[in-house]
Amino acid sequence: MSKTVTAVLEQQASRKRQKSSRREPQLAWYVFLMPTLLGILLFMVYPLIESLRLSFVKGASEQFVGFGNYANVLQSETFWYAMYNTLYMTIFQLIIAIPAGFVIACLINNLVRGGGFLKVLFYIPNVTSMVAAATVFLAILHPDGPLNYVVQLLGFEKIVWLSQPYSAKWGVIILAAWHWLGFVIIINLANLQAISNDYYEAASIDGASRFQQWWYITVPNMVGSLTILFIIGWIGGLQRFTDAYMLGGLQGSPARSLHTVVGFVFERGFGGHEYGLASAATYILFLFILLLTYFNTLVTKMKI
């Protein structure tokens, strides 16, 4: 008798507990997410909406100008030159860093021992701040710096790197490719290790040489992840600011050759207090990046 009573009580209690535990936690989970959700509202949603609003107004009186700011940005030669510079520096940074990083990663992947050590070695530039790296490069690119020493050793004339638009851009490209290379290597290594060993074993039984294995197995298997790296690189490259700013200042000297899109936003927004125009420029940049992100998800889904 008493046994059944306690059993029933127990059952009731546990049902109650289940019920309450099913209702009460719902709220609890939102509390867990509170910091993130508050942050997103304050530092994401609000700024995005406010930026959109600002892109349609002009001046301190915030007079509505429709698409006037967008038209101004798209008609500005300075903007297009900044866009050209940004794309130019980015494409060469990627064309240098991705293949070089891929080949180095393949070689490291072939090692039986010492790979971990080399990974750390190659990644060091990427952990340092771009500001520190660029500071060192300002001295390396100096007319009497080490780079010119190499140039002269090879029998060429001294180059005053940061005084000519063309060579100044290449200064930034060298700096950016060097700084990014370690990242490319790490990502490639992770993807190389994901290729099944069975392919290589089967190929070597069939008598394929190591180069043939690399060309017919490794390369086709890596096309997808290389494409993703390329897109990530584009997205990062469009947002470039620090490297060009450090070598060329706010104006992107010499002759605006290092002026970037973000530099344009910075100069017009914080230098000229043209919040409307600068916001329109950021939205144009944002659209470019969204498009690239969309391609990125397409490629990721295709899993080539």
Partner: protein, 281 residues
């Protein structure tokens, strides 16, 4: 067979030596930086031809940097900012990651999608209103704008969620039967198990905070509030090619903390970067 294995071993050593040489070339800018910073006469002119062993070795440039003290002030600012940023971003990532891993609540999928979406929004798209907002709050030239926004840590939430997903479900069930609430379960059972993921998240957000440049450049112009990259940037652009010795010493000192953190925790960092495949700049 044996000679084959021997040949393999030799080619392996040769390959390692070759890659090591390439790695040294990669690190040459930093090695050269150290050598210039230790060169007594480097402030007059950049040592030419370049050399890795200083001709006139001295700590003179470092002494100048420390006696000036501005770098130490910047160090203090950067450390305080990084400490609070790490605290904020790691705790919000752990709490959020746990909720998305173990929670069942309305709108879970939608909210997770919203968190992921924040990764696609470039900082520049929010730059101007972020400035005007903190300006209206009278927080320009304070440390707050450099700390508060770190509360959004989407990549951290994804990494933390993966980590919690891999912990056994039984942990939660037994605690629930004992009648523990969700907070108690999290803080008493799960939180003590989060050592490795906390380390990873902490290092990544320390690196972000320590190296960030554009946002500090916008919100700080007070000399005494400059972070390390801000100080280094103005110092090196003001002096250009002159004072190479002091500039290189300052650059070296600015790299040191992040380099030490990296060398100590390189396994966590490299693994998480490979895992995420993404990293903000």
């Amino acid at each position: 067979m044996r000679s084959n294995r021997k040949a393999r071993k030799i080619s392996d050593v040769l390959l390692f030596l070759f890659l090591f040489a390439v790695g040294i070339i990669m690190l040459y800018p930093f090695l050269w930086m150290i050598s210039v910073s230790l060169e007594r006469t480097a402030n007059v002119s950049i040592p030419f031809p370049p050399r890795l062993i200083p001709e006139e070795f001295s700590w003179f440039n470092y002494k100048l940097v420390f006696e000036n003290g501005a770098l130490l002030t910047a160090y203090g600012n950067s450390l305080v900012i990084a400490l609070f940023s790490v605290l904020l971003s790691v705790s919000s990532a752990l709490l959020g990651g746990y909720a998305f891993s173990r929670g069942s609540f309305k709108g879970k999928r939608l909210l997770f999608f919203a968190v992921l979406a924040t990764m696609m929004i470039p900082f520049e798209a929010r730059l101007i209103p972020m400035f005007t907002m903190f300006n209206e709050l009278d927080m320009i030239n304070t440390k707050y704008p450099l700390i508060f926004p770190s509360v959004i840590n989407a990549m951290g939430i994804v990494l933390a969620k993966q980590y919690f997903d891999n912990l056994p479900e039984g942990l939660r069930e037994s605690a629930k039967i004992d009648g523990a609430g969700e907070f108690k379960i999290f803080f008493h059972i799960f939180a003590p198990l989060t050592g490795p993921i906390t380390a990873t998240l902490g290092i990544l957000s320390f690196q972000d905070s320590w190296n960030s440049f554009l946002w500090p450049l916008v919100v700080i112009n007070d000399q005494h509030l400059k972070t390390v990259p801000l100080f280094l940037s103005s110092f090196s652009t003001e002096n250009g090619g002159r004072l190479a010795g002091v500039t290189m010493a300052t650059a070296g000192m600015s790299i040191l903390p992040i380099l030490l953190v990296f060398l100590f925790f390189q396994k966590y960092i490299i693994r998480s970067i490979a895992l995420s495949g993404l990293k903000g700049e």
